[in-house]
C-alpha cells in the first residue's frame, strides 16, 4: 500500500548540505500498522512527509496505493493526497473554524455537496465521541479532544492510508492511551493502512504490527514487532528491555545467572515451575519484565539457578532447547 524505495533526502546546498535520509526503503502492506521508531532528529518526520510528498525526496521512489507519487502532476497529486489522511503532533486544526468546520474542510476540498458534508461530519464526530463539541472552537478543547478532531478530519474523505506524525507525543499518558485505543479501533474497523512515526515505544507496542528503527537517517532494523522482540540482539528489544544491571549481588553464591528472552509461547507456559520440577534446581528471580505487545506477550528475565552443577547444566540445556536463548550471564 505504501512503498518507499531507496528514498534519500538532502536539505540545503553546497557546504551546508544536510542529509536527512539515506536510502530508506520500506513496504507497508494493506491493513498493516507500521511504526517508525527513532529519536528526535533521526529523520522520522522527513520520512513520513515523503509518503505524501509534503517533502519531496531527493532520490528514490514513493508509491502509495499503486501510484508513483513523484510522477504525478500537481493536480493528480492533490487528488492522491485526498486518499492519504494525516494527523499531527500539534493537531494543526484551523483555529478560525469550529470542530464541525475542521472536519468539513477536506470534504469541501473534495467538492461534496453541503448536505453530504453535514451528514458525514456528524457521523465522524459521533465516531470519535465529540458530537457534543461540534460547535466548539479548537481553543476550547483539551489536547485529547483536539487530536480526536484531527483524526476525524483526516478520516473524513475515507482515506485508505493514514499517516501519523507523533500523534500522541503532546498528550499525557492517560490521554495517549485513549487516543491510541481510538486509532486502533478505527484502523481495524476501516481496514486502514497506518504509517506512524513516534519516539514512544509504547505506541509501537500498543499499535504496530511491524516496525522500523531509524537512526541518523538510516533504517537500521525492520520487521514484525513480535519477531524483533523475540530476537535477543535486535535494537527494538534493546530499546524495550534496556541492559540489565551489572551489579554482582553478594549472598547468592553458587548460583548461575541466566538471562531469558521470552516470546509469546514462553510467556504463556509455566516456565519457572517446570524448571524447578524437572531439574531439581531452585530458581531465583533477579530482574525482569513481561510486556504485552498487541495480543502477545514478550519478556526478559534474569534468573539465578541454584543446584548441583549437573542439574544446573541440564536446566540450561533445556532452556536453550526451548529457544529461550539462555544467554551468557555473569556468574554470581
Amino acid at each position: 500500500m505504501i512503498e518507499l524505495r531507496g528514498v534519500g533526502k538532502v536539505f540545503g546546498q553546497g557546504a551546508r548540505q544536510v542529509t536527512a535520509l539515506h536510502d530508506v526503503s520500506l513496504h507497508v502492506p494493506p491493513g498493516e500498522v507500521f511504526g517508525v521508531l527513532g529519536r528526535s532528529g533521526a529523520g522520522k518526520s522527513t520520512l513520513l512527509r515523503c509518503a505524501n510528498l509534503l517533502e519531496r525526496p531527493t532520490r528514490g521512489e514513493v508509491r502509495v496505493a499503486g501510484q508513483d507519487l513523484l510522477s504525478l502532476s500537481p493536480r493528480e497529486l492533490r487528488q492522491a493526497r485526498q486518499g492519504i489522511g494525516m494527523i499531527f503532533q500539534h493537531f494543526n486544526l484551523f483555529a478560525s473554524r469550529t470542530v464541525e468546520g475542521n472536519v468539513a474542510y477536506p470534504l469541501e476540498v473534495m467538492g461534496l455537496p453541503r448536505e453530504a458534508i453535514r451528514t458525514r461530519v456528524a457521523e465522524l464526530l459521533s465516531r470519535v465521541g465529540l458530537s457534543d463539541k461540534a460547535r466548539a472552537y479548537p481553543a476550547q478543547l483539551s489536547g485529547g479532544q483536539k487530536q480526536r478532531v484531527g483524526i476525524a478530519r483526516a478520516l473524513a474523505p475515507r482515506p485508505r492510508v493514514l499517516l501519523s506524525d507523533e500523534a500522541t507525543s503532546a498528550l499525557d499518558p492517560e490521554t495517549t492511551r485513549s487516543v491510541l485505543g481510538l486509532l486502533k479501533d478505527l484502523q481495524q474497523q476501516l481496514g486502514l493502512t497506518l504509517l506512524l512515526i513516534t519516539h514512544q515505544l509504547e505506541v509501537v507496542k500498543a499499535l504496530c504490527g511491524s516496525v522500523a528503527v531509524l537512526e541518523g537517517g538510516r533504517l537500521v532494523e525492520q520487521g514484525r514487532v513480535q519477531e524483533l522482540l523475540a530476537r535477543p540482539e535486535s535494537r527494538l528489544r534493546a530499546l524495550c528491555f534496556p541492559p540489565l544491571s551489572e551489579q554482582q549481588e553478594p549472598g547468592s553464591a553458587g548460583g548461575q545467572r541466566v538471562e531469558l528472552s521470552l516470546t509469546d509461547a514462553h510467556a504463556r507456559s509455566p516456565l519457572i515451575s517446570t524448571l524447578a520440577r524437572r531439574f531439581d534446581v531452585d530458581v531465583l528471580l533477579l530482574e525482569g519484565a513481561v510486556e504485552r505487545v498487541g495480543e502477545a506477550r514478550v519478556g526478559r528475565l534474569l534468573v539465578e539457578l541454584h543446584g548441583s552443577p549437573g542439574a544446573v547444566a541440564e536446566a540450561r540445556t533445556f532452556l536453550r532447547e526451548q529457544g529461550l536463548s539462555a544467554g551468557e550471564a555473569s556468574h554470581g
Binding site: L54, Q82, F88, N92, A95, S96, Q140, G144, Q145
Partner: protein, 227 residues
C-alpha cells in the same frame, strides 16, 4: 468663519470621505499585494522569487518616501486619474498610493503569523493554493488583518490631514487655514478634538471586530478529557 460647528462638520465629512474611499481602495490593492508577498516567497505556496524581490523592493521604495514629498511627486498621476490636483477627491490619489505598500506589509505580517503546520495540513488534504489562501490563510489571520487594517485606516486619517493642508480640504485644511494662519485657537482645538474622537473610535471598532473573529482564546476553560 463665524459658524465653527458648521465648518467643523463640513471638514469632518470631507476627512471621512477621503479616508473611507482611500481605505477601500487601499484594502482592495493591499490585500492581494500582501498575499503575493507571502505566497511568492521562497518556500511559499507559489514561489516566484523574482516577483517576490521586485514587489518587496517596490514596497520598500514606496514606504521610504515621506508622504508630503510623494504627494507632490505624483501630481501628474493625480491629474491623469482625477483630472485635477486640487480638492478632496484629488487628495485620495496620493493617499492610496502612499498607503498601499503599508497595507501590503501589514497583510504580509498577518499572514506570516499563521502557523505553518495548519498550511501543511491543508496541503496534505489536497487543497489548491488558491483554496489555501482563501480558506485557510485569510480566515486564520482575520483577527490580525482587522487589527492591521485599523492601523492603516488611522494612518490614512493622519495623512488625509496633511493632504488637506495642501488644498485637499478636510480637518487638516481647516486647522491650518484658520487655526494656524489666522490664530483661531478654537478652530485648531476643534479639529484636534474631532480627530482624536475619530482615532479612538476606529481603534475601538478595530479591536472589537478583531476579538469577535478571534477564536484562539478559549471563552470557557477547556473541559477535561472524558475520553
Amino acid at each position: 468663519m463665524g459658524d465653527l460647528p458648521r465648518a467643523l462638520g463640513v471638514a469632518t465629512l470631507e476627512t471621512l470621505y477621503m479616508t473611507s474611499v482611500a481605505s477601500v481602495l487601499v484594502a482592495l490593492a493591499g490585500l492581494p499585494l500582501g498575499v503575493l508577498l507571502v505566497v511568492t516567497d521562497r518556500g511559499g505556496l507559489w514561489p516566484v522569487p523574482a516577483l517576490n524581490r521586485t514587489l518587496g523592493t517596490l514596497v520598500n521604495v514606496g514606504r521610504s518616501i515621506p508622504f508630503i514629498i510623494l504627494m507632490v511627486a505624483i501630481v501628474p498621476l493625480t491629474r491623469l486619474v482625477v483630472g485635477t490636483t486640487i480638492g478632496t477627491t484629488a487628495a485620495i490619489v496620493p493617499l492610496v498610493v502612499a498607503a498601499i505598500p503599508f497595507m501590503g506589509r501589514v497583510v504580509e505580517q498577518a499572514l506570516r503569523e499563521v502557523d505553518a503546520g495548519r498550511v501543511e495540513a491543508a496541503v496534505a488534504m489536497g487543497s489548491t493554493p488558491l483554496r489555501i489562501i482563501l480558506r485557510v490563510l485569510l480566515p486564520e489571520s482575520l483577527p490580525s488583518l482587522v487589527r492591521g487594517a485599523a492601523l492603516v485606516v488611522i494612518s490614512l486619517l493622519g495623512y488625509s490631514a496633511m493632504a488637506g493642508a495642501v488644498g485637499g480640504g478636510g480637518l487638516g485644511d481647516l486647522a491650518v487655514k484658520y487655526g494656524y494662519m489666522r490664530f483661531r485657537v478654537d478652530v485648531m482645538w476643534g479639529c484636534l478634538a474631532v480627530l482624536l474622537v475619530l482615532v479612538q473610535l476606529l481603534q475601538w471598532l478595530g479591536e472589537r471586530l478583531a476579538s469577535r473573529f478571534d477564536h484562539t482564546r478559549s471563552t470557557s476553560s477547556p473541559s477535561p478529557d472524558h475520553t
